[in-house]
């Protein structure tokens, strides 16, 4: 299985499309960090307004942790799109390029081939999230420094530096699981067609519809929201609650994993019964 995953990673790293996400992050992150470093006064004022009556602020609350927290809030809608760029091609491209005529005639089961493709797209998703963390936390801590993380959610939570590192680690780990679920969704569409664009559009369509459902406060939408997998994408935010709601996180993860298993099950059914005609 490891050698099959190795093969798939060679294919992913050989496609220019796979680098779009990394290039995008590499362009965007320095701009955002530069913005935090040199234009954060108004942001600090806005942010501190919520608790200036209770606390006296000495120095800047803007640091790599707060920047990362704000960046993640802004990007969690867009990162899935970058993830689908690789997952969309995972199965479909081999069909359209005729590669299956070379690989599926070999003494390896289709299920193993499919699983290796899925795991490779998980590795890609994880790499992209880690790359994001590297920029916002790694480079960010060099540019903005570190310190306490002040989170305003249903109250004010102040996390010391050590705790902030741990929460960030937990948060990015949860984000990786969410992005793996996005990969599986796109992968399912990829196993159904012979064109890498269709799965990207299909997956993004479902995700955007999900975002719309959870954003509009209608009674009907509230009723179906528990069944909309997108409503569990914000599990990474739970890492910044106090105390950490482990049971809630566990529930959200189990829903995401169940959906992932369902999507992979559909992929496997389609792929194992697929006639390779092209």
């Amino acid at each position: 299985m490891l050698s099959l995953i190795h093969n798939e990673l060679l294919v992913i790293t050989g496609r220019w499309r796979s680098y779009i996400g990394f290039i995008g992050i590499s362009i965007l992150m320095p701009l955002i960090l530069w913005g935090f470093a040199y234009g954060s006064e108004s942001l600090q004022n806005d942010y501190a307004r919520g608790f200036e009556g209770s606390f006296m602020i000495v120095g800047s609350i803007i640091n790599a942790f707060l920047a990362t927290y704000i960046i993640m809030n802004a990007l969690w809608i867009h990162i899935p799109f970058l993830i689908t760029l690789a997952a969309g091609d995972a199965v479909a491209a081999d069909g359209s390029n005729g590669i299956f005529r070379l690989t599926l005639i070999r003494p390896v089961s289709r299920l193993k081939i499919l699983l290796s493709k899925l795991l490779a797209s998980y590795i890609y998703a994880a790499a992209l999230v880690i790359f994001c963390a590297f920029w916002s936390l790694g480079i960010g801590s060099m540019v903005l420094g570190t310190g306490d993380l002040i989170v305003i959610d249903n109250g004010i939570l102040i996390l010391n530096e050590t705790e902030a590192w741990l929460r960030m680690f937990l948060s990015f780990s949860l984000a990786i699981i969410v992005m793996c679920m996005v990969s599986t969704l796109c992968f399912m569409f990829s196993s159904m067609v012979n064109n890498g664009i269709g799965p990207i559009i299909g997956a993004m369509f479902l995700i955007i519809v999900g975002y719309i459902i959870i954003a509009i406060p209608l009674d009907f939408f509230r009723r179906i929201e528990p069944y909309v997998f997108v409503s569990y994408f914000n599990v990474w935010l739970d890492a910044f609650k106090d105390p950490i709601p482990w049971i809630l996180i566990g529930k959200k993860l189990s829903v995401l994993i169940t959906y992932s298993l369902l999507f992979f099950g559909i992929s496997a059914f389609v792929f194992l019964n697929k006639d390779i005609k092209s």
Binding site: N7, L10, G14, I99, L102, L104, R106, N273, D275
Partner: protein
Amino acid sequence: MILEANNLTKSFGLRKAVNNLSLEIPNGSVYGFLGPNGSGKSTTIRIMTALISPDVGEVFINGNSIQKNGSKALSDVGALIERADFHKHLSARTNLKMLARMDGTDFSAIQKVLDRTGLGDRANDKVKTYSQGMKQRLGIAQALMGNPKLLILDEPTNGLDPEGMKEIRDLVGELSSEGITIFISSHLLDEVQKICSHIAMISLGELITSGKIEDLLRDSEILMTEIHVDQTKKAMNLLSNYKWIHRCDVKEGILRVSLVENKISEVVNILVQNNILVSAIIPKTSLEDLYLSKMEINRKV
């Protein structure tokens, strides 16, 4: 038998691509698979290599069912199905390494098969820089990598120039002499007759005939005869009126007639009675003649 296909049937929608097709491929043979475009050759080959599941029937390779135990059955098979498509952005060597990982083949085999197919010097070049002929040779290289006992080649000379075709023909001859069974589908009947020991012909998904080429040509009801006459056009027009003459044409000034063997004297009689001088009768049944006659009969049926 290295491969047995039993009662294969496959439909796509309402169209039956393969209909109750059975084949037996003897060990060590070079087996030609012939049929017109759309006759079901590619579908049959894809069923044999587990790319397509049959609606009915089963394929056994060395006694292992492709449908039930595909991994074991395919461990003895190397195949090139239609065009050779690789990851274009990767080198030939990297592509073969990827496939070797799937086969569990040692990487040392890669240089051997690349040298054998004349690509040793270009092994590190990206596939996108290859000509169609080189890609096709790389396709054969990947098929040879796992030391297969059965090599399945679907139109291997497609896109090759005459020199490339000869190289493939020579390679097939070499591989056959090493004891590898070769199943080859081709439109080039002359090529097939030169390299194959056995053939099967299919039309509309059904088997028309199969067996050793020499037996089929010897036992054929159809005899292609070259008749040297002084008035070829008149003779052709005259004989074309007889329904028991399957085909009648003129090639390089010589009348060629496809007919049932015991009617040669009748043909000569007709020509002579119509004042056409017959100077020679030479039996010349080729695989092409057999093929065209069988297809013609099948069309009429």
